[in-house]
Symmetry: C2
Subunit: 283 residues, 2 copies
Amino acid sequence: MKNIYVIGVGLIGGSLALDIKKGDPQSNIFGIDINDTHLEEAKQRNIIDAKADYAALKNADLVILSIPVNKAVEELPKILDAISETTLVIDVGSTKLPICEVVKTHPMRRNFLATHPIAGTEFSGPKAAIHNLFQKKTNIICEVEKTAFKLQEKALQLFSDLGMRIRYMNPEAHDKHIAYVSHLSHISSFMLGKTVIEKEKNERDIFDMAGSGFESTVRLAKSSPAMWTPIFQQNKTNVIETLDEYINNLKRFKNYIEQDQFDDVYNEMKNTNHIKEILKGIA
Amino acid sequence: MKNIYVIGVGLIGGSLALDIKKGDPQSNIFGIDINDTHLEEAKQRNIIDAKADYAALKNADLVILSIPVNKAVEELPKILDAISETTLVIDVGSTKLPICEVVKTHPMRRNFLATHPIAGTEFSGPKAAIHNLFQKKTNIICEVEKTAFKLQEKALQLFSDLGMRIRYMNPEAHDKHIAYVSHLSHISSFMLGKTVIEKEKNERDIFDMAGSGFESTVRLAKSSPAMWTPIFQQNKTNVIETLDEYINNLKRFKNYIEQDQFDDVYNEMKNTNHIKEILKGIA
């Protein structure tokens, strides 16, 4: 694939651009972004070769749509309007049902592949783009049967070159499960950060007491609100379900402490310890 | 200090033993533990030189008490009964008020220094003991004025050799603030792990979808229930307060999502983002 257009030159789009260029130095990487400062930065960092616009998408072999999910559902139909018959378009968003819905009757639906690379950091923007972000990570592909076979093949070659393993899932199942293993983690981390900051706001040196445990648990609270707000919006029903269950579990745990049921406190933790085995294999 | 007795040869006691021995190969490190398997393991791993018992504590220059906090309050008075006039005894527990209370009228109170090294990992037992665990970490010392001046000096030299920075605090303030920056993180992490495991227990391969974000947020759920249950018990009032505030923050966030107040969702996250700056300097 010679002409690659990256729409949204941030953490994910930028990191994909870096790896693609490294794998094929002859490819031309074009950047499209509503934030011109980010585009300039991406150019200076050699993440993209040049800026472009939608009119140029007819020349694209590959379009990577890596913008917040509320913008992605607005832009994807326009992108599909602008491409050629042989262009592959992929998105990388953390919700999959709305994006599959918005293009289901589009005449170019077969040029689109819905994907979710489970990779990232808590940082954002072109400066967050890094090499090898996708190595050994899972990429979830939704509604693969709706994409043209030749374009599926192209996409799978790309993901293989990036070092990713593939899982197939329908968008409903994706959005439901990802609410548990990703979206809830972000909310629990943001609210932990909020709770501690509120309490200690007048005693900043209290954070000297914080160890690596707090740092690890609150890490995701550094994430981009512009990226995460529309994810929670699009996955509202599933996210609310996870929050209800999480809050209920916290209340039960608190109740055990209040009632001095410390055997139950012990067992709650003991029964969760096997997360050790479950997590083996995650980065 | 030539004769060092480590009571509880786990993560913290074992790691202290390793660094002390490395700093002074002539020192004799003795281990005391109710778990004989741990003692044998500690010997095989060269964490301790030999096993010992309380009758030998009269020969101790330094006693390190590194056992669960419920056991520590039971053992400390007996230890102080057994030592000599020149022995320094330190504990390393995550709660400081109960341990200071239990020895406040003990005739050997001046031989004891209450400390809390903010260091650790989610692992436990002698196999978790590692070198340099305390390098650049904070050690909180409580009621320093109640310890004999010469023994304070010995302790400070030890902590300096281990690479630690010192903060002084009264036990009430310690227990209140540590509930926020440590104890709450552990509960939020355990309950996150529980919520996700419960939901996905019949679909184990869903954890293929989990990324490094989930892994980081749930890391503390691997921690030892035997260590943490008595911490929550001893710090019950403060822990319940932090849980009330955390649960209320989660409910408010959920309510914003339910009511489609996504500007508020955004602002909640935006206002917490400055955790980035606060965390600078933590390992």
